[in-house]
Every structure is written in C-alpha cells, then in structure tokens.
Amino acid sequence: MLRRDPRTTLETVPEDGGEKVSAAAHLTAEQVEALGAELDAIREEVVATRGERDARYIHAVIRAQRGLEFGGRALLLFSKFPPAWIAGTAALSVAKILENMELGHNILHGQWDWMRDPKIHSTTWDWDHVDPAEFWKRSHNYEHHTFTNIRGKDRDLGYTVMRITPEEEWRPKHLLQPFTNIGLSLIFEYGIALYDIETDKIKSGEKPWAEAKPQIAATFRKIGKQAAKDYVLFPLLSGPSALSTLVANLTANTVRNVWSHAVIFCGHFPDGTETFEEERLEGETQGEWYIRQMLGSANLTGSKAMHLMTGNLSHQIEHHLFPDLPSNRYAEIAPRVREICERYGLPYNAGPLPTQYAKVWRKILRLAFPGGHERYGAPKPTPRSRIGKAVRRVAPARLAA
C-alpha cells in the first residue's frame, strides 16, 4: 500500500475505503513541478532542433502515401483479376491508414505548421475521412487533448456510447456495448463524424440548432464526396471491374476503420490508464497536467513499420505530453520520457497491440455488466454518490458522460 505524503497535490481521497490511489499520489508538489520542468526541457529541445531532417521526413511520407494511393487505385482499375484486386486493395488500405493517421491526424494537430508550408498546414489540410477537418480539430485537439480522461468532460471516454469507466453508472443499454463496439469498429469514420455532431448535446439543447445545422450539412457534403469517389467514380472508371473495385474500396475503407479504431482504443482504455474527477482541473499546474496525460495514456510497442502505421499514436504518452511536436520525434524522446517515469516512480503503460487490445475488449465486456469497481480499482458507489447520480439523471446535459 502506498503511503500518501501529506503535501501531495494529486488525486482526491477515495470516497470509501480508499481502494483507488493515483499512481502519482506519492509525489510531492515540488517533485511534480521538477518533473514538469524536465518535460518542458525535452519539448524545448525538440522545438529548437526541428529542421531539414523533419521536413524531409514528412515530404517523404506524403510522397509515399500518394504513390501507394494512386498505384493501388490504378491496379484496381483491373480488379477483376485477383492478383490486381489483392495488391490494389492492400496498397489502398495502407494508403488510407497512412493518410488518416501519420498525415491527417498529425498535420491537423499543427505538428508541421512550423514549416510555414501552405500545403502542409493545420489550417489548410483536409483528410480522406468523412468527418470534415474543422469539426474534428475542435473536438479532438481542443476537447480531448485538454480534458484528457476527465470523466464527464472528455467525451472520448467511451465516445458517449460505451461504459469505459466503472465510475459511470451502469444502464441496461450497456449490455449491448460489445456489439456497439464491433459495429463502431467497422464504420469508425462515420462514428467519429456522428460523434462530432454531438447529437446528445443537440437533444439537450446545449448545442444550438443554428450551430448544428451547417455542421450536419457540411458533413453530408463530405460524405457525398467521399462516397462518390470510392463507390461511384472509381468503380465506373474500372468498366468491367466495376463491382470488384467497389468491393475493394469498401474493403480498404473498412480495414482503415478497424485498424484506426483498434489503435485509438488502445490509447486510453487499456488496464492501468487512469481517469480523473472534474475537480482536478481547478488550478491544475503544468506538471500536474503532464502527469494526467501520462497516467491517462498507453503506448504500443512494436517495429518502426508498426509505429508508422499507427501514425505514431503508438507513442500515445509522448503525443499527449506534446501534441504538436512532429510525430517522427516521438520515438526519439520516448526512452527519455520512460526514464523520467521510472525515476519518479510512475507507470509507463506500454505493450504490444494484441495484448493491449485484448485488455480493452475485456474491459468493454466486463463493464457491459454492472459493477467492475474492484477489477478496475474504482471506489464503489456510496449512498452519497447515488444521490449525485440521481441529480445527474435530472440534468443529463450538464453531466453527459
């Protein structure tokens, strides 16, 4: 059992029995700030050395991605021939994954804005995804990256449709969440677009219709364009191969969906990632912010190719510490971040994709049923918090999970 330092600044006292103590509870306020200073120094060092090498990297990825995409689509014009179908679908799947993850996600984060290249800039880039970049940037860059793992604030915790923390009150609809998750995985890009429209907030009136309407229209326009490309124009161009090209494009989109869903769910949901109370945000220092990002994120281990295919979200911890540093630098700073974690006695959650993804699935399955507090180390609901939850039901808008 960890002994809590009286000067600690982190984590509130568990409501009952004290099962849950943050992995950072042993740190004093001074230690937290020292850790923050060390991470600041890493950030400054990377910023000071951004240059030619990084620019070459992103240009190379863009060229490779476009080569794969055009090559794959060219092969698929003859998709009636099985070898062309297989090679074309594989190339297009990889191209779409690279486009969304190493390019789209990271460029839209502003990781490459420092180059001042109008073609590779967060304000001008759009991605091969049905969610228009502008809406995704707001929900992701601002809401998720600012309120990471704050229950009730970070809507990415379960994406409003799943119970991913035991603290969230169980409801019968959660019994369906394993199926919801399979479905979401298959159509992930549409799920993200729908999620960004925030139907829950529209229903509750928190998001005015005047704001929602143009967003919905823009999303439908984007869906129309994406669908016209993949499911009408390229099949038509393929002539006798029309149907097999359509199936190939559907396959590539689905492969991209399943893959990005898996990678993204492994970022914050595996066992050991912590979630936090909203009160924590009050007066949170930079050091405490860093710690929340580190404890709330999990890495994937693997080869260089694996890191590239995850858009370096395999370095989720480094990405959450420094969301706007170029993605090619995460692997370089990871050993130093890990060393800092070890030195300060903090966990550095990392594992291979199959292991991490299995843990995510186990959690989704377990939390489909009531309880789960013991396994996931959360305080059991007390009569007091039950009262709180009764209030929650009356005012779902304010506290929408």
């Binding site: 951004r50 240059g51 030619e52 090498r53 990084d54 620019a55 863009i62 060229r63 476009r66 055009f70 502003g110 804005d113 420092w114 180059m115 001042r116 290249d117 109008p118 073609k119 800039h121 967060s122 304000t123 001008t124 759009d126 991605w127 091969d128 364009k225 994406q226 016209a228 490309k229 124009l233 390229f234 161009l237």
Partner: protein, 351 residues
C-alpha cells in the same frame, strides 16, 4: 460538359485538388505554389548576385521596377523576401538581383549559397515603383548601392529613344562596387543615357546641391529614386521644399520607422485559423503570427506592398512607420498592414 468532367476528375482525388497531385509529382508543376529553378548565377559584386530563374509554370508579366517574392526553405522553414526583377517583361527567364544583408536569414544564402538547380518559391510581382505609359520625356533616376536593381529593370526594358536624354545618377563606394557597372557604362555609351557615377569613398555623399550641379534641370524631370533611407529622406525633403513632390517617386528597401513608435504588446487572435500569438511592443503582428505557426499573407515585409493586410476586428495596433494608433473601436474592420503594425493590447484580426 467540360465543367462536369473537371468536377468529376476533382472528385476522384478529393480531398486533394489537382494542383496537389501535380505538385507531388513535380513541385515545378504547381500553379498554386509556383516554383522556379535557378538556371544561372551571376556574381555582380561581392555582395550582389543575379539569380536567373526558369519559372515552372507560366508567370504573369511584371512591370519593370516591380519586385517579386522569392521563397526558400531554410532548415525546413519557408522564408520569403522580395527582390527587384531585373529581366524584361516577356523574357523566357526571370532575373532577380539579391544583395546580401548582414545578419539576414535569406539574403546571404540566396546571394552566396544558392547553386544552379536550386528550386525556389515564386511570389507574384508587385510594386508601384514603375514608369507610367507613355514614358515621360525627361527622366531622372537617382540610385545608390543596391537601389540600382529596380531601375536596372526599367533601363533594360526602355527602348533607346526613351533612354536618350535620360539621366542616371548612381552612388556607390568605388567603381568596382557598382552593381551592373560595366553594363551601365556600355548602355550609356550605346544610347543617349547620361550616366553620372558618384564614388562616395572619395567624393562623399550625394547632396541636393551636388545633384543640382550634376543635373541642372533636375526640377523639371520626373524622378525615380531608390537607395538607403537617408538619401531618400534627403531627396524627399528637397523636392518638398524647392521642387514638385509629385515628380518624385521613391522606393524604400527598409521600412521607414518613427523612432519611438511602439505598441504595448499584447495577444493577437487570428480569427480565420483560431491561432493565438503573443507579441512584444515592437514586434510586428506578422512576425509574431509566423512565430506561432500561422500562415499569413506577406510580401515586401516593410509596409510597401499591402499584401499582408488584414482587417482589425477588435483592439488597437500601433503603425510602426507613422506612429499612428489604429483602433477597431473607431472603425471595425480597418485594414492594417501586419508587417509594420504592433499590437497595443489584445487584438483580433480576420486573417
């Protein structure tokens, strides 16, 4: 029909646009981000180099005397500066003259360290320092140092008849320092252009009196002047006092600043991108925005070309050249030149 085909072709590559594809295949093919390749480098003087460029895509005709933007990626970051065009409109190749400025990020590199084959970014030609149509009969050019470069573009483009009777007074330290010296002397010998070289190392600086000695009829000549701020200020004052200020056209290479004009500094919000930047009291909005990663329109970067103008939606800025305070409270949406304006308190721009 053609439009429909184009629209369908565009959909094939959405969310890219055709220009992205061309630019990926070969940066020289991009029209939205035009590029040029350096095909020849002419060392004019130890400081000044002519870069001869082959534009990748057809380049809009310039007017002699104008400048254009040259962009170069230095350590991964695009930097842009403007340089006078010295080639003639319609020439197959473009020439610009670059003088290395001590401490400059770009000029030194362009002047000394840009091998043939380098690809540079190309901005549109701009500038008001041009000759009117028809060409005035009595012309006077007063230049010093690299100030000759825009005038060189004019001289090369004028036909011999227009040059006949024209006067060029050029100041430089020594005969060897004169950019385009041999060409200017040959041009004077071949046409009726009168070239007055003043070598300041021995003869001292040009003053209104020495100018009047060399060109007695200066007051009736329409005059184009380009050079250091001190010279231009002297000339402007002289024309204001005893000449016709309407007849004097000047081009400044360095922003004219009111010594003490500064803002108080503040936070700049760029409404279009949502980016936020903090600026010191004497930091132009443009520089602060670029440092924060904003993509902002820019051209001369010294208050001349108005490429960088943005509308001030809220707050106030100090014009670093005039010292004027421009306040959105007086007139929302007032255009401000971001390259020569510093925030006075927090501001919002439509850029």
């Amino acid at each position: 029909m053609a439009r429909r085909v184009r629209a369908a072709a565009g959909l094939l590559i959405t969310p890219l646009v055709p220009d992205d594809v061309l630019g990926t295949l070969n940066p020289m093919w991009s029209r939205s981000a035009p590029r040029a390749r350096v095909v020849r480098v002419v060392r004019e003087t130890p400081d000044t180099t002519t870069l001869v460029l082959r534009p990748g895509t057809p380049f809009a005709r310039h007017v002699p005397g104008q400048y254009l933007g040259i962009g170069l990626q230095v350590a991964g970051v695009w930097h842009w500066r403007t340089y006078s065009v010295t080639s003639r409109p319609g020439d197959r190749l473009l020439s610009v003259a670059v003088t290395a400025v001590p401490g400059g990020i770009l000029s030194g590199r362009l002047a000394h360290d840009t091998p043939v084959g380098t690809v540079v970014g190309l901005g549109p030609a701009a500038g008001e320092f041009t000759l009117p149509e028809p060409t005035p009969e009595k012309l006077l050019f007063v230049t010093a140092g690299s100030g000759i470069t825009p005038v060189m573009g004019m001289l090369r483009s004028l036909d011999p008849a227009a040059l006949s009777g024209a006067v060029l007074v050029h100041c430089d330290r020594t005969p060897d320092d004169v950019v385009f010296g041999p060409e200017l002397r040959a041009l004077a010998a071949r046409t009726g252009l009168r070239l007055v070289e003043r070598h300041t190392a021995g003869a001292g600086r040009l003053t209104p009196d020495t100018l009047a000695d060399a060109v007695p009829d200066w007051a009736v000549r329409e005059t184009w002047a380009c050079g250091p701020a001190g010279l231009l200020d002297t000339l402007a004052e002289h024309w204001e006092r005893v000449g016709d200020p309407e007849l004097l056209h000047v081009e400044r290479f360095a922003p004219k600043r009111v010594g003490s004009a500064t803002g108080t500094g503040g936070r700049i919000t760029f409404a279009a991108s949502g980016l936020v930047a903090d600026a010191e009291s004497d930091t132009p909005v443009l520089l602060a925005g670029e440092a924060a990663g904003a993509l902002l329109p820019n051209g001369c970067r010294m208050g001349i070309c108005h490429t960088c103008v943005g509308k001030l939606q809220a707050g106030a800025v100090r014009d670093l050249q005039s010292g004027d305070l421009i306040d959105a409270a007086d007139q929302p949406g007032r255009p401000v030149r971001t390259c020569v304006s510093a925030p006075t308190g927090d501001i919002t721009l439509d850029l």
